[in-house]
Amino acid sequence: MNLYLQLFLQFFHVGVFSFGGGYATLPFLYDIAEKFHWYTPKQLTDMLAISSITPGPVGVNVATFAGFTTSGILGALIATTAVILPSFIIVTIISKALDKFKTNRTVKGAIRGLKAAGCALLSAVGIKLIFTSNLHLLGTLLLIALLISGFFKKQDPLIYLGLSALIGLILGHFNWIGV
């Protein structure tokens, strides 16, 4: 199949099924990485880090990035459009039956299920990333320390990224992480 068409279909599919905002697109992007090898899971975490320090929603950022690494500026354009297009269609449909949508019991049940699924899928990606990342002992310790502190009191996202970047730089300088 044509690469551009394939890109469009895959990212359209991300826009249709990801549920729960922000990182909810991640399980689908991870699935794409495994199936198509357009980018590796490691590159996906690099992309996520970059998304956190650039403007825009993470889902859009990663789509643009994946499209660009796969097939340049046209790929970026196609993947970005494809990830937004389902939103456009769904919102247009829902707008026309807004009151029904808000009170319908079937919709309510579906949303309850979808929310739990979004949370579960993201948990699974987190677990997979821990096992596929090259963490070593020091990285594992850093992860545990940051997680514990974050669960007690959540800081600005940039603090976690900045701190872990700095620690990576220092540990790497002394050749302690084998990267």
């Binding site: 826009g15 549920f19 729960g20 905002g21 922000g22 990182y23 689908f28 975490t45 996520l48 880090a49 320090i53 650039t54 403007p55 825009g56 929603p57 993470v58 889902g59 859009v60 990035f65 660009f68 970026a76 970005t80 990830v83 389902p86 939103s87 769904i90 247009t92 829902i94 707008s95 808000k102 049940g109 579906a110 309850r112 299920g113 979808l114 739990a116 979004g118 949370c119 579960a120 993201l122 948990s123 699974a124 987190g126 990333l129 990342s133 090259n134 992860l143 940051l146 974050g150 669960f151 959540k154 996202p157 990224l161 900045g162 872990s164 970047a165 990576g168 540990l171 790497g172 300088h173």
Partner: protein, 194 residues
Amino acid sequence: MLYNKVMDKNFYGIFKTFFKVGTLLLGGGYVILPLLTSELVDKKKWITSEELCEFYALGASLPGIIAANTAIFTGRKLLGTKGAIAATVGMVLPAFLAIVLFASILSELITKPSIQHIFWGVGIGVIVLLFLAVKEMWKKSVTDEFSLLTYTICLALALSGKIPPSITVIFALFFGIFWQKIEDKKQNKGGKEI
């Protein structure tokens, strides 16, 4: 003054406003609501705070990127389909440009050892952020036996590595509808007995 603000509510005006919001949207889409409130409610007075909150809540209960969903709802309210297009393109364009710029220099940067070390560290930071996002989602989504059961089944499906995430999502959708039907029936029966 008021005249200017109303005149501004055209394709270009909406595009410009959302472009500004898109540029300020750092660190993911979570700050979309305060940003839109400041631009659309406080400065332009295009919509009320209540309307905006409703658009956000609706955007969060639909598939796709919440910030985009919210922008599309708001754009539609302002200027129909044209407004929705202006809002979406305006919001996404800064993100698009920033990433394309970054991606073009990244392949050169990544060969440097110090940059690789930074990315090794940042990879850990990303996993931390991911689990903090899971915690936030958990608080909003896993609230009763049904959602805990759904969560457990979906997690098992996802970890099995054999089921694509879309199938898991479709399962949860139908399971949720099914469960709601049973709950509603039980409640109706309870009501009749009393």
